[in-house]
């Protein structure tokens, strides 16, 4: 996957962690006493308590790891200096060079094919001469 797609994935991951963390914390939070008129809410079970204690830490770790990973990926972006104009100029230069090298290659190919044809003719002549030999008397 190219680096920009990785960066986009990372942004989506950070958004997922950020928005879903809050929801799951709210879901798993123990009931709070809103007023003195209401009775004390029941104590959460040991399992629920463990979840409540660990969940924020894990969420915070996941979020910060995502943020750091994004920073590292941004650092790895191979951005060249000069911007669009420099790139377009470089492309034009490379195209011109590509065309001249292509022409050179075509000339070489044509010369090589010509020589190959000549060699084949020579070989056929040599083979014919061999076949036309008289046997020794």
């Amino acid at each position: 996957m190219d680096i920009i797609a990785q960066l986009q994935d990372q942004v989506n991951k950070i958004a997922y962690i950020a928005f879903n963390t809050v929801g799951s914390l709210q879901r798993d939070a123990p009931p709070a006493r809103l007023s003195q008129n209401y009775p004390e809410p029941p104590e959460p079970s040991a399992e629920a308590l463990a979840t409540i204690n660990n969940e924020p830490k894990e969420a915070a770790i996941a979020f910060m790891q995502g943020v750091k990973q994004f920073d590292a990926l941004v650092g790895a972006l191979p951005l060249s200096e000069g911007g669009e104009e420099a790139q377009l100029k470089k492309i034009a230069e490379l195209q011109a060079e590509n065309e001249s090298v292509g022409k050179e290659l075509q000339d070489e190919m044509q010369s090589a094919e010509r020589e190959l044809k000549q060699l084949r003719e020579l070989f056929h002549m040599a083979a014919d001469n061999c076949l036309r030999l008289k046997p020794p008397s």
Binding site: A15, V74, L77, I91, L94, E108, M125, A126, P135, S137
Partner: protein, 210 residues
Amino acid sequence: MAASAYPPPPPYYRLYKDYAENPDSAPAPPPPIVGTYTSFGSNYTTDDVLPSLEEQGLRQLYPSGPNVDYKKELRVLNRELSFQFLELSDVLVERPSQYARRVEDMGLILRNMHHLLNSLRPHQARATVIHILELQIQRRKKAVEDIRRKREEVRQLLQESLSALHGHMNVAQQDGRAMDGGMAVALGDHVGRQNNEMKTYGFGAAQTYR
């Protein structure tokens, strides 16, 4: 007609009845569309441009201009996102009813980050073209070198073969062996042209001895 579920085909086919006999009897195809057009009720455009954040109704958080420092702006937005997440946690504890503003701010930052990354795609496309052109030039240069080397090797091989044949001929003549009529030797004398053009050679195959 365009609004029905199964519209009939366009009636243009009638214009091409005599096309096989007379191609000029039918109208020429329409020119390519430029700009916006409608297709199956939706509007499309031939001008493929990434819409700006303002056009999408969003606030741009990084400075606009032709030379945006993408790395710096992405890092700034990343830090801002972490800060807003902390603010959201704080607001949920202290003033839970005011969460919406923080969530909206976080959404705006994320959209700005995505827009910046999308703006990098044309740069990536140009860099890919540059890389492909460089590879192509490298491959072509290598092919030219290989062909030249092989041609040189072939020429040297032929020169050596011809020298060896000359040597055999001289030895045979010195030994007084007759070259009888069964022999077919036709040595060319066009060897050694400076521009490496090789003319016709005929190679002798064998000799008969008296």
